[in-house]
């Protein structure tokens, strides 16, 4: 309806306007040729009409745009001003003018057509409705431009508010900051002049701000808002970096570590010295100044009692030094430093480099005479600079030498440790080799070794364990054929070799240590051992026997091993012929129906066949006939085995399978829902005991229970599964399907994966639990700006039109 009405209403409106137009010149023109005159007259007429009918125009609040649509220019501001509309029509675009004319001109004015009467104007409510509709559509269009943004924001993983600004503060490096630093405050300016010399400040300012000479202060001031903003950002950055630096300095100042400060100090001295050396090459005057400074520092250090071991720390160290080697060393180091510092410089100047001798500084030569340090001792040349310099050099040389010494000491220590480790290794090898050689030494030798090593290491720790630990030995390595004599020889030779080895090792490490003695072994002991390894040998043989049998089994496949499990196919194949089925039938006596249910009989695969009954090999149990003699099986062990055997025998005859079947049947019967009997006994028929209900009554009054759902263990004859096993879990399950889902399976898929560190890598977990919205505390979140929208071409042209 609206579409139909729209052009009409336009016509109507324009017509209304034209009605008030007194001069019809412009509209009467049939040739449509547009000349300047006619154009002007049209504008004039429109102007006049607007003047007279301002109210009407305000009511309409709509204006025709070039395409013939109604355009609402000023939705929010209220009535349209004349000037605006005039501007709109003042456009010199002739084509537009033409179009406008064409639109305005009624059809009747066309060539050859007869004129008709004007149509009646629309009624007021209709017009209003149309206007409302148009307004609604416009508003809708206006709001819908946000659609895509709203969609993307709703879908976004994370939104951070306030939205990032265009000119965010960036953190500059220290270097960059230094480059761009401009002294502004008077203090800064003064400092800059001190550091960089006169004229630096002006130069720098000119560089940075681009101030040319002759430009007044006022010109420097920024004028535009953008510049001011930029300036503001710059300052903010500066402040930020300053605060970082301050924080850093504060942190550094708070460090209590003495070691750190010591290192720091040393580094400072070193850098100063380096600087001095450099200055010497480049700027001797400055070098002199520096030297003096250094000298002052040295004097200061000399005068205070820093390295005299009088401080609190030193006193505690002295107390400790009695027991602690480290503190002793540290104390001596301190003393050495103090000695170095207080040593007369004249002595050290002897060792000064010959290159430095040539350096002459006449200004200082005189003063050397009144220096008491220089008076005593022979001075090669009276150069004071050299003297000082060499003094420092000496100091550093000393320091370096000390370091060197320390390094060497460490190396020595390391070497000692290495040796110790080697010894240990050797011991280990010894243990292994001992095993290799024979198992007999197993007991005494390691004990001795332990003792030795304890001595060597001076280990304070002793195993407090009361548990007797013994090296685990199996003695299957020695062949059977060896005679006792051979063995004896072998052992003694091995013993000797071992002894030698150990002795050598120990001698090498600690010459002063007493040589250990290896006790000779008693023959008895050896004999005992021998018997042991016969036993071991037997073990070995027996084991091999088992192997053979096993291999056979492997080859034969299921035939031997698997006799208890008849494969499923064979069950089905031999279904008819199984004797078990018959027996069960007989037992239960329920006829054909039972036969169907009992297709898979547990007794088939769980049956223990007497004929092929497993004959327990004695060897398998771990003690063969020979073994039993040797192994001294304890009484309770025997009892245990006997007990097991007894139980096995006791249960052999019992019909466990039958019992299980009965149990299962009971379970099934118990879980079945019961029929409900509503019949009244004796009602309508004879009452009494053992009287069966008539068929009619049975049909009428017994409510049959619904068939139970199929049991989970229906196909598993050897399993009873509790049907209500997980009824308790129901409370914890989800009972409703949440909204966007219409399928249970879909919902279950979305909750299939747990969220947590235990199940997912850290990053994946974090991405899953990331907050939807992040806001910063105390930050104002501004509403979204229209600038964020991508402008369409149409909108751009409209803006231009405005």
């Amino acid at each position: 309806m609206t579409l139909e009405l729209l052009p009409r209403s336009q016509k109507q409106k324009v017509k209304l306007d034209s009605d008030y137009d007194d001069s019809d010149d412009g509209f009467d023109d049939e040739s449509f040729t547009v000349d300047e005159k006619s154009h002007d007259t049209l504008i004039q007429s429109l102007k006049s009409s607007l003047k007279t009918n301002r109210k009407r125009v305000q009511e309409a609040e709509g204006i025709v745009d070039p395409k013939g649509n109604l355009l609402n220019l000023r939705l929010s501001k209220g009535p349209v001003s004349d000037a605006e509309i005039l501007n709109f029509f003042d456009d010199k675009d002739k084509e537009f003018h033409k179009k406008l004319k064409r639109a305005v001109k009624p059809k009747i004015l066309k060539k050859g057509e007869k004129s008709l009467s004007l149509t009646t104007s629309l009624k007021k409510p209709v017009i209003k409705r149309i206007q409302r509709e148009i307004l609604y559509n416009n508003a809708k269009k206006d709001v819908s431009k946000w659609n895509s943004i709203v969609y993307h924001n709703r879908l976004a993983d994370q939104l951070i508010f306030p939205l990032p600004e265009k000119n965010a503060i960036r953190k500059d490096g220290k270097k960059e900051l230094e480059d761009n630093f401009v002294p502004i405050t008077p203090l800064e300016e003064k400092l800059a002049t001190l550091i960089h010399g006169e004229g630096y400040v002006e130069k720098r300012k000119a560089e940075i701000f681009g101030i040319k000479e002759g430009v007044t202060e006022e010109d420097i001031y920024v004028r535009t808002v953008e510049e001011a903003l930029e300036r503001h950002h710059e300052l903010a950055r500066l402040r930020a970096v300053q605060s970082y630096e301050m924080a850093k300095a504060k942190r550094n100042g708070k460090i209590k570590s003495k070691k750190y400060h010591r290192l720091q100090r040393k580094q400072k001295i070193r850098s100063q010295l380096k600087e001095f050396e450099e200055l010497q090459k480049t700027n001797p005057e400055a070098a002199m100044l520096k030297l003096e400074e250094l000298d002052r520092a040295r004097i200061q250090e000399r005068m205070n009692l820093k390295h005299r071991n009088t401080s609190k720390w030193a006193k505690t160290q002295i107390v400790r030094a009695k027991y602690n080697r480290e503190s002793r060393a540290e104390l001596s180091e301190q003393l050495k430093i103090s000695r170095d510092l207080t040593r007369k410089v004249a002595e050290s100047s002897e060792e000064s480099d010959p290159d430095d001798v040539d350096l002459e500084l006449p200004g200082l030569v005189k003063s050397s005479l009144d220096n008491p340090w220089c008076l005593t001792g022979s001075i090669k040349d009276n150069d004071k600079v050299n003297m000082y310099y060499t003094g420092y050099k000496k100091f550093w040389d000393d320091v370096n030498a000390r370091k060197e010494r320390e390094r060497k000491r460490k190396e020595r220590e390391e070497a000692r440790q290495e040796e110790q480790r080697k010894l240990e290794e050797m011991e280990q090898q010894f243990v292994l080799s001992q095993e290799k050689v024979s198992d007999e030494e197993e007991k005494p030798l390691p004990d001795i070794l332990k003792k030795i090593t304890k001595k060597v290491k001076k280990s304070k720790k002793k195993t407090k364990s009361k548990l007797q630990t013994k090296a685990f030995i199996s003695s299957e390595d020695v062949p059977q054929e060896l005679s006792l004599e051979d063995l004896d020889d072998l052992l003694t030779s091995a013993n000797q070799r071992l002894e030698e080895k150990v002795k050598k090792g120990i001698k090498r490490l600690k010459g002063e240590k007493k040589e250990s003695k290896l006790p000779q072994k008693s023959k008895k002991d050896r004999n005992r051992k021998n018997s042991r390894y016969q036993d071991g040998d037997i073990d070995e043989i027996r084991d091999f026997n088992i192997d053979d049998s096993e291999i056979n089994i492997e080859k034969d496949g299921n035939v031997i091993e698997d006799d208890d499990i008849i494969p499923s196919q064979s069950i089905s194949a031999s279904l008819k012929n199984t004797p078990m089925r018959e027996t069960i039938e007989n037992k239960t006596g329920t006829g054909e129906k039972k036969e169907v249910e009992k297709v898979i009989d547990p007794s088939h695969f769980l049956e223990i066949r007497k004929s092929k009954k497993y004959d327990m090999k004695e060897s398998d149990l771990g003690f063969g006939e020979e073994n039993l003699e040797e192994m001294e099986v304890e009484e309770d062990e025997e009892k245990e085995v006997e007990h097991l055997k007894m139980i096995a025998e006791a249960f052999e005859d019992e019909d466990l399978i039958g019992e299980f079947e009965r149990k299962k049947a009971e379970e099934i019967a118990g879980s079945k829902p019961q029929d409900i009997n509503l019949s009244l006994p004796g009602w309508g028929e004879w009452g009494g005991q053992d009287i069966k209900l008539s068929r009619h009554k049975r049909r009428r009054f017994i409510k049959k229970a619904p068939l139970p759902p199929p049991r989970r263990d229906g196909a598993l004859p050897h399993v009873i599964l509790n049907e209500n096993g997980d009824s308790g879990l129901r409370h914890h399950q989800v009972k409703e399907l949440p909204f966007p889902f219409t399928r249970v399976s879909d919902f279950e898929k979305t909750v299939r994966a747990p969220v947590g560190r235990t199940w997912l890598p850290e990053q994946a977990m974090k991405s899953l639990i990331a907050p939807k919205v992040i806001t910063r505390l105390g930050k104002v979140i501004q509403p979204i700006d229209e600038d964020i929208l991508v402008k369409s071409n149409r909108q751009k042209t409209l803006q231009l039109l405005k």
Partner: protein, 583 residues
């Protein structure tokens, strides 16, 4: 952290058997015929062409997309298929924006799984193992051979403690594998750091000790004594006496639930929450003394072996057993469940060891027989130690093979065994003391330090204790099928929707679950036979009924007054049926 289980990094050349063995007795010691080497598991790292390999911590280049991983490698981390963005329609998940959000989250889950696989690069430790040359068997190896091949630190882990006075011994390693507690039947208790052999405490309770168990960390252990169950701290101080756990024969501890489980001599099972000191449940199993009991690490169900050859499964929430499986024709002597909860091993007095598939069919996979197993245990990597008398056989991939790959003979008969977590070590409690033997490839090489840390400090221990308490799983959540928690209770949902009045609009909901309910099915061949049998029986009964009716009808003569009550039959239809039956 230090290395955990890299025992075998030295490859030694093969040696020829039997050379000069007769001439020189010393040479005959050269026994090793087998090489033990580190199993160098080839780690496939994805390599990007024309791009330098990134070091850890380096930022990814902006346009960089890592190549997709092979499907089977990601599968082990997978939690099942997610939503398919191409197939999800407006009807399935309403409103565009919600659907988009849900799909986005799902893609994050998928990428998390992908990341988990890629993070495997960080698992640097390799598992140990034994590689055997051609024509050789690892069965010939004994502890001495293994000890010779391994590095020194590992060699110290093979040892034997002779403790014959208070034997036999029950053993238990702490959860992080660092500490060991030994409980001698005659009252001897010793707890120590078994790696350094540092003793924590050692004392005699002057009462018979039936079982020992570490609690959630190495500060406490529970001891089942003659009368009651006691809890001691690592100094040997008695902290608690649990009088309601009396005459306990076997103890188990569920670390994530903080439940101490005891099998009583009276046939009862009891669950005690050690974090609050309350008995959670106590049921009678009604099947004789409960000396054989173990826990399923994956779902915290307790498996009890009984003298009637069954293994019953118990949860503290159900008064009767959740399931009972007829495993053997004689009394069950030992039970063990593997780490993933897939396999159960049972041993019986008939001298058999059977492996069972626990997932849904409860069918036996293999059977081995060497003798009555007295102790069975699974290692972290799925090795099985099966001890009968003084022989312990160790199997790898027990589902597939029947031949052990290692064997160990102890001095005394073994009564308890446990693989040490995160170590390639098997601890055996025997009638002569304790044996610690090396089993290459038994332990998990890479540990999650936030989960179980063998090297944890005291502070870390305290922190992990608090965390574990915060993350404690309530005992109500123990079920046989622990995936049920992630499912919607469709029964209640259906009831609710059905009970709504008819004039209300009902939401159209598809109730099928994500996970298909797999019930054990009879193989197809059998099914056909069954259906055939069914058909036959139906036909037979039908015939019988027909005949009886006919005979009834025949009994009444035509002039019988009762004849009028006989229903009129449609003779046309009935006759061909009768003919059919004759055939």
């Amino acid at each position: 952290m230090g290395k955990v289980t890299r025992y075998f990094h030295v490859e030694k050349p093969d040696k020829i058997i039997g050379e000069d063995s007769s001439s020189n007795p010393l040479n005959s010691q050269q026994q090793p015929v087998v090489t033990i080497v580190a199993k160098t598991r080839s780690k496939k790292r994805w390599v990007v062409r024309n791009q330098p390999e990134r070091s850890y911590g380096q930022k990814q280049q902006p346009g960089f997309v890592p190549p997709p991983l092979p499907r089977d490698e990601v599968l082990k981390y997978s939690r099942g298929p997610g939503l398919n963005p191409n197939r999800i329609s407006e009807e399935q998940i309403r409103t565009g924006i919600r659907r988009a959000k849900i799909l986005k989250r799902d893609s994050k889950v998928v990428s998390g799984i992908d990341q988990a696989r890629r993070a495997e690069i960080l698992l640097l430790e390799q598992h140990g193992g034994i590689e055997v040359g051609q024509g050789e068997s690892s069965l010939t190896l004994n502890q001495c051979d293994i000890v010779k091949q391994v590095d020194m630190a590992s060699a110290t882990k093979s040892f034997h403690l002779t403790l014959d006075k208070f034997a036999p011994y029950k053993v238990d390693y702490s959860l992080n594998g660092r500490h060991l507690v030994l409980g001698g039947r005659k009252g001897h208790l010793a707890a120590f750091d078994w790696v350094t052999k540092k003793l924590l405490c050692e004392f005699n309770v002057m009462e018979s000790v039936h079982d020992v168990k570490w609690l959630h960390n190495e500060t406490m252990f529970a001891v089942a004594q003659k009368q009651w169950t006691y809890v001691y701290d690592n100094q040997g101080l008695e902290i608690h006496c649990l009088k309601r756990m009396d005459r306990v024969m076997k103890l188990e501890f569920l670390p994530y639930h903080f439940l101490l489980v005891g099998g009583h001599e009276s046939g009862f099972i009891s669950w005690v929450d050690v974090s609050i000191g309350k008995i959670v449940a106590q049921f009678g199993a009604k099947n004789g003394p409960l000396g054989v009991l173990t826990s399923n690490p994956s779902n915290a169900i307790i498996h009890c072996g009984h003298s009637n050859g069954t293994v019953t499964l118990w949860s503290p929430n159900v008064k009767s057993s959740v399931a009972s499986i007829l495993c053997h024709g004689s009394a069950v002597s030992a039970v063990a469940v593997d780490n993933s909860g897939r396999l159960m091993a049972t041993g019986a007095m008939d001298g058999r060891l059977r492996i069972w598939d626990l997932r849904n069919s409860f069918t036996p996979l293999t059977s081995v027989s060497y003798g009555t197993p007295t102790a069975i245990s699974f290692s972290q990597k799925g090795l099985l130690a099966y001890s009968c008398a003084n022989a312990t056989r160790i199997y790898s991939e027990i589902g597939q093979t029947k031949k052990p790959f290692l064997r160990h003979m102890s001095h005394g008969n073994v009564i308890s065994s446990q693989f040490c977590p995160f170590e390639d070590v098997l601890g055996l409690g025997t009638f002569r003391g304790f044996d610690s033997c090396l089993v290459p490839g038994a332990g998990e090489a890479n540990f999650d330090a936030l989960e179980r840390n063998p090297f944890q400090t005291k502070k870390q221990r305290k922190e992990s204790e608090v965390k574990a308490l915060l993350e404690k799983i309530q005992p109500e959540l123990i079920t046989l099928d622990n995936k049920l928690l992630g499912e919607v209770d469709t029964n209640t949902l259906k009831k609710d929707t059905d009970s709504k009045p008819t004039h209300l609009k009902k939401a159209e909901i598809e109730l099928s679950h994500r996970r298909k309910r797999k019930s054990a099915k009879i193989p197809k061949a059998k099914q056909s036979i069954q259906s055939e049998l069914k058909l036959r029986t139906i036909r037979e009964t039908h015939q019988r009924l027909k005949k009886s009716e006919e005979s009834k009808g025949q009994n009444l003569t035509s002039d019988d007054p009762l004849n009028r009550f006989v229903r009129k039959k449609k003779s046309v239809v009935s006759t061909p049926v009768a003919e059919d039956t004759d055939e």
